[in-house]
Amino acid sequence: MTLLWAIPALPLVGAIVLGLAGPALGSRMSAIIGTASVGLAAIIAGCIGIGWLQHPPPSGAFVQTLWTWVSLPGLTVRFGLYLDPLSLLMVLVITIIGGLIHLFSTHYMAGEAGYSRYFAYLNLFVAAMLLLVLADDLLILFVGWEGVGVCSYLLVGFWFADPANGAAAQKSFIVTRIADIAMLAGLLLLSTRIGTLNIHDLTTTSAHWPRGALLPEAAAALLLLGGLGKSAQVPLHTWLPDAMAGPTPVSALIHAATMVTAGVYLVVRLHPLFMQAPWVMHGIAIGGALTLLIAAGAGLFQTDIKRVLAYSTMSQIGYMFIALGVGAWSAAMFHFLTHAVFKALLFLSAGAVTMRLHHEQNIFAMGGLRRPLPLAFICFLIGAASLAALPIVTAGFFSKEMILGALWAAPSPALWIAGITGALLTAIYSFRLVFTVFFGRIITAPSGTYGIRILLPLFILALAAVCIGWLETPGFLGGNHLLSAFLRPTNGTGAAQIISPLIPLTGCMVPLLGVSIAWTLHRKGFWRMQAHRAQTPLAGFLKSACGFDAAYRALLVWPFLQLVAALRYDPVDQVSVWAEQAATALHRRLRATQTGHLRRYAAWMMAGAVATIAMVLFA
């Protein structure tokens, strides 16, 4: 456990080596260094995890302080790593799934220019994300927060020669930056009030604050805004669909499994603070419900396979937030775990499919691919089934059940209704995707083959997507509570839930209903018609996730660009130019008086004398 520092350090070293000497090392060596650094970190994390399970520390946490970073009269920040069940879970997810994605990338990105640069960025991202989850102090967490934002920008804009990619990267960075300003304000508020940003001290102090007072509400609201931006929730969600401009493994790692869950991690980590802010909790729940529904609606109309998955990520994180909003911390973390697995699986399978189709991403250009690409089909099907939460066989079912059960216990039934509706929509759009891409006629014929480096990660993830759900099962299926028991030192015991059998039953029926609806519409060719029919205004509105993008463009971007255009010629400088022009004009006027005529000079002098004497007389 003393090797905890090696977990973020190994990918960081990998990033530095690849960044400095990448092109010189060649693509094979870059791939090895990149994958091995994350792989080693995963192995160390695994060993630490096993050690933890055998001999959990009595205090429930392990702190490793490395050095003192800031030492000021009002604030002391120590660079330390904090290991408890929550961060251990996140570390395992990040390193293992990250390692698998690195392996996948070595084949997927083979032959691309900037191969070693890609791995340098990806390693740097993993290092920053690990720092974020292992941070002992909110300021260190913020360093990791910003680090993942920068790496996301670098990776989304990886193919920077196309300006559209650069614009997408800028959009993701700017939107998350705006959210980060709110988070920084929250950090400043907390540090000035408490004098420390150490997470442990913060949570113990804030648990004693009066519930509903202004301080916890304000601090929680500000930190939440930061989390909303990073997790692409309404209203700061507009960057995620555009971030699909990056390579597919990047989308799998950053925009599905890890970075976008940073907001969820933040809330769970600081849940004592959030529990003292009931209004913010209501806001989280309502925001999560809205995102859930808006994103699911948008997913029904998308034509790009990756954009469907992006909206699906947004929607599933909405589920996590809605669970956070009602205080179901373990349920949110469980869903995080299953979502990381099946969403990475979905993205990698989508990448595998498009790889064989020369990177064609329009689903209406695909069809009937289940016969030519059977392995990709199976993996994608497992992922989609887990996303739709098909009963019992998939991991997604168990985590969604846990969330829906927690929602039912909430005071208002509206949240549960939103959750169930979202589940229906999720099933419909995910199987729309499956049927459109893999069933029907073949439209584009695939070419090429898969290598072991593509198939191995897919297999492992597919297996996990089926089995990992058994960590936490509801009462009627065995009552296995391994995960929540594991997380108890951090999250505490949840409220005892009395659930009528009707709830799990509805949870089973709704996904099946969604699949059957999607199948019926597929048979009728409804989905195919979408591609050819003109888009109705309602469809367009829902497709663009309720027009937030257009609204932001009109309200924020356009006025800013107008301002830039108005200031292009430096109007502030014009003031000094006018002063110069006025002086020159006056000079030209006065010059005209220098005529050279003696008499005129004498006359002017006389007039001056007359005026002076007049002043003396009448003063």
Binding site: A592, T595, G596, H597, L598, A602
Partner: protein
């Protein structure tokens, strides 16, 4: 003796006449002559003051003014001659080389 306002008024009138001549006439000879008229009027004022206060300083000032007028006239006439040889006219209005050309 004469009360002092009368010669003072006379001095003022003479001064104003000299000034009028200066402002109106273009011929440089008349300009110089008008300057002499003004100096003379100033001298009259000095004498008047000397009479009023019973101070010899008035007449002493007149001596100095005379001195000045002489020196100035000599130089003025020399310059007038040089200007005339340059411009071939005595018109003061045509001597505009000192103007600021735009």
């Amino acid at each position: 003796m004469i009360a002092w306002p009368a010669p003072a008024g006379l001095a003022l009138a003479l001064f104003l006449l000299g000034l009028l001549g200066l402002l109106t006439r273009t011929n440089l000879i008349f300009v110089l002559m008008s300057i002499e008229i003004m100096l003379n009027a100033a001298g009259l004022l000095f004498i008047t003051a000397g009479m009023r206060w019973g101070d010899p300083d008035g007449q002493i000032m007149l001596i100095l003014v005379l001195n000045l007028a002489g020196a100035e006239l000599a130089l003025g006439l020399v310059l007038l001659l040089r200007l005339r040889s340059r411009l071939t006219t005595l018109d003061g209005d045509s001597a505009t080389l000192s103007r600021d050309a735009p």
